[in-house]
C-alpha cells in the first residue's frame, strides 16, 4: 500500500496510461492549468456508456462541485498530464465545464473607505 491507496482503478500495470489517454496529446497549458477549476456539466445525467472507467471516475469526482485540476490529479494515481488529457477530452465531449481561476480579491479603494469613515464620524461622532 503506497500513499495512494484511496483511488486505484483497475490494475494499474495492466492498462498503460497511453491507452487510457487513447494516444491523445497534452492539452494547451492555457486551457487547463493546474489551478483551473473544473466541474461536471449540468446535463450530464444521461452519461454515455462509451466512456472509459477512468473517465467515469473523473466525472464522479467532479460531480460534487468545482475542483482544481491539481486536486483531481491528487485523488487519482495517474500522472498529472494524463489527468489533464482526460479532462480535456471530457471537456470536448461537453461533460465538464471549466472556470478560470478565481481572480485575486482587489483591495478596497482607500479613498472610499476614508469618505465612509468621515461620513460616519460626521453623523455619530
Amino acid at each position: 500500500m503506497t500513499g495512494h491507496d484511496g483511488w486505484q482503478p483497475e490494475a494499474p500495470e495492466l492498462v498503460r496510461p497511453y491507452v487510457i489517454t487513447k494516444g491523445r496529446g497534452l492539452p494547451d497549458e492555457d486551457d487547463l492549468s493546474l489551478i483551473t477549476l473544473v466541474t461536471a456539466s449540468d446535463g450530464q445525467q444521461q452519461r454515455p456508456a462509451r466512456l472509459s472507467p477512468e473517465e467515469q471516475s473523473l466525472l464522479d469526482l467532479c460531480a460534487a462541485g468545482y475542483l482544481s485540476v491539481a486536486e483531481i490529479a491528487g485523488h487519482t494515481h495517474f500522472p498529472l498530464g494524463v489527468v489533464r488529457i482526460l479532462l480535456a477530452s471530457l471537456m470536448e465531449g461537453g461533460h465538464l465545464t471549466t472556470r478560470p481561476p478565481v481572480a485575486r480579491a482587489r483591495l478596497a479603494d482607500r479613498e472610499i473607505l476614508e469618505e465612509v469613515l468621515n461620513g460616519l464620524r460626521a453623523k455619530f461622532g
Binding site: 491507496d5 500495470e13 477549476l37
Partner: protein
C-alpha cells in the same frame, strides 16, 4: 535297345543331360542364395532407412529442444527487462507528470510494451514464461491491455463493455492472443481504417469480436490459420517463415493451453477478417471490485462527525491487520462550493478549538514543571556526591536501582 548303347551320340547326349541337370540345380541353388541375400540386404536397407529417419528426427527434436531452451531463457531475460523498464517508466511518468516530457515518456512506454509482447510471443512458442502474475481484471481492461501492445493502437475502437472479469490465470494469455489478433488486423488493413472490437455475452461465455476493413485472407492463408488454430499446434520457432509469422501459431498454443477458442473463418462486414475470441465460463469471474470507489456525490454535505478525541482519533480509528493505524483517505473537497449551498464543512468549532489550545498549553506547562522536579531530585542528599554534568542520566540510573 542294345543297338543304341554302342552309339556314342547317345552317351554324349546322356553326359550332356546329366551335366545340364547338375548345372541347373546349381544355378537354382545359386539363385536361391542370391535371392536370400537380396532379401537380407533389402531388410537391412529398410532397417537402416528407418534408423536413419529416426536418428534424423531425434537430432531435429534435440536441436529444436536446444533452440527452445536457449530462446526461452533469452526471452525470459528480455521479458524481465521489459517489465523492469515498464516500472521505471511508470515512475518517471509520475515524476514528470506535469511537464511536456510526459508525451515522450508515454511514447517510450508504448514502444516498450510492443517489445515486451514480441518477447512474450516467442516465449509462448518455446513453452516459456508468460509474465508476472496478474490480478483478476475486467474484460474491458484486458482488451485495452491488448490494444496497448500493438503499434497502431489508436486505430482500435472498443465499442462495448460487459460486466465480467477474467480470472487472474487467463488475463495475460487472453491479452496476448488478442494483441496478436489486433496486430494482424491493423497490419493487414489500410492505415485510415478503424479496427472495431465488440464484446458480447453469448450462452457459452463471452465473445470478443474483432472486425477489420482490410483485404481479408487468401484461401491459402485461411487454411494455414485454421490449421494452426484448430488441429495442428506449432512447436518451436521453426517453420514460421521469413519474415516469421507468429500470430496464429502463438494464438493456437495459447488456446490449447488455457482453454479458450479463436476462429477467423468468417469475414467481416467491412470486407476484412472477422476474428472471434470465445472465452468460456471457466475463465470468467465477476467484475473485479474497485479498491475504493471515488467519493460518491451523495456522501458530500453530510460531513463526517469529529469525535471528541480530536482530529487524530478520527484518523486512526481503524487498524490494519498488522495492528498499524490505517490512514483514512481525505474526502475530495471543492474549493468553491457548487450551486447547492452545503452546510459549513465540519472543522473544529470554536469551543473545540479552545479545548485544543488549552490542552496544548497544559501540556507545555506540565513539561516545564517536571524539568525542575528532576533537577531537584538530583540535588537530593543521596545524589549529592555525583557529578553534576550528567544529571538526567544519574537520576534515571537511581530510579532503576
Amino acid at each position: 535297345m542294345t543297338e543304341y548303347t554302342g552309339n556314342p551320340l547317345l552317351w554324349v547326349a546322356l553326359v550332356a543331360l546329366v551335366a545340364a541337370a547338375v548345372l541347373i540345380s546349381r544355378q537354382r541353388k545359386a539363385a536361391r542364395a542370391l535371392r536370400q541375400q537380396v532379401q537380407g540386404l533389402r531388410d537391412h536397407y529398410t532397417e537402416l532407412e528407418s534408423d536413419y529417419g529416426k536418428s534424423v528426427q531425434a537430432a531435429q527434436e534435440r536441436a529444436e529442444d536446444e533452440t527452445k531452451t536457449v530462446l526461452k531463457s533469452a526471452m525470459r531475460t528480455l521479458q524481465g527487462l521489459a517489465a523492469e523498464q515498464q516500472l521505471v517508466l511508470s515512475r518517471l511518468q509520475t515524476k514528470y507528470g506535469d511537464s511536456a516530457l510526459l508525451q515522450d515518456l508515454l511514447e517510450i512506454d508504448h514502444t516498450n510494451s510492443q517489445f515486451g509482447r514480441r518477447a512474450q510471443s516467442i516465449a509462448v512458442l518455446c513453452d516459456g514464461w508468460l509474465g508476472g502474475r496478474r490480478d483478476t481484471a475486467s474484460v474491458y481492461d484486458v482488451v485495452r491491455s491488448a490494444q496497448g501492445r500493438i503499434r497502431h493502437f489508436r486505430r482500435v475502437d472498443i465499442l462495448s463493455q460487459v460486466d465480467f472479469g477474467i480470472t487472474s490465470r487467463a488475463v495475460e494469455p487472453v491479452a496476448l492472443a488478442l494483441a496478436e489478433l489486433l496486430d494482424n488486423a491493423t497490419s493487414y488493413s489500410s492505415p485510415d481504417t478503424v479496427v472495431e472490437i465488440n464484446i458480447r455475452t453469448v450462452p457459452k461465455g463471452i465473445c470478443v469480436v474483432v472486425d477489420d476493413a482490410g483485404v481479408g485472407m487468401s484461401d491459402e492463408e485461411r487454411a494455414r490459420a485454421d490449421k494452426l488454430l484448430a488441429t495442428e499446434r506449432a512447436s518451436g520457432v521453426a517453420g514460421l517463415g521469413n519474415p516469421p509469422q507468429f500470430g496464429f501459431a502463438v494464438i493456437g498454443l495459447l488456446c490449447e493451453r488455457f482453454g479458450f477458442e479463436v476462429s477467423v473463418d468468417s469475414s467481416s462486414p467491412y470486407g476484412g477478417v472477422r476474428a472471434v475470441v470465445l472465452l468460456p465460463h471457466e475463465l470468467l469471474t465477476a467484475m473485479p471490485e474497485k479498491k475504493a470507489p471515488a467519493a460518491a456525490p451523495a456522501a458530500r454535505g453530510t460531513a463526517r462527525p469529529v469525535p471528541d478525541g480530536g482530529p487524530e482519533a478520527a484518523l486512526t480509528s481503524s487498524q490494519t491487520g498488522d495492528g498499524l493505524p490505517r490512514r483514512r483517505r481525505k474526502r475530495p473537497m471543492a474549493i468553491v462550493p457548487g450551486s447547492a449551498s452545503t452546510p459549513r464543512a465540519a472543522g473544529r468549532s470554536d469551543s473545540e478549538q479552545a479545548q485544543v489550545m488549552g490542552a496544548f498549553q497544559r501540556g507545555t506547562q506540565s513539561g516545564r514543571v517536571t524539568e525542575p522536579d528532576r533537577a531537584e531530585r538530583t540535588d537530593r542528599p543521596d545524589n549529592a556526591g555525583r557529578t553534576s554534568d550528567t544529571p538526567g542520566a544519574s537520576s534515571e540510573g537511581h530510579e532503576v536501582s
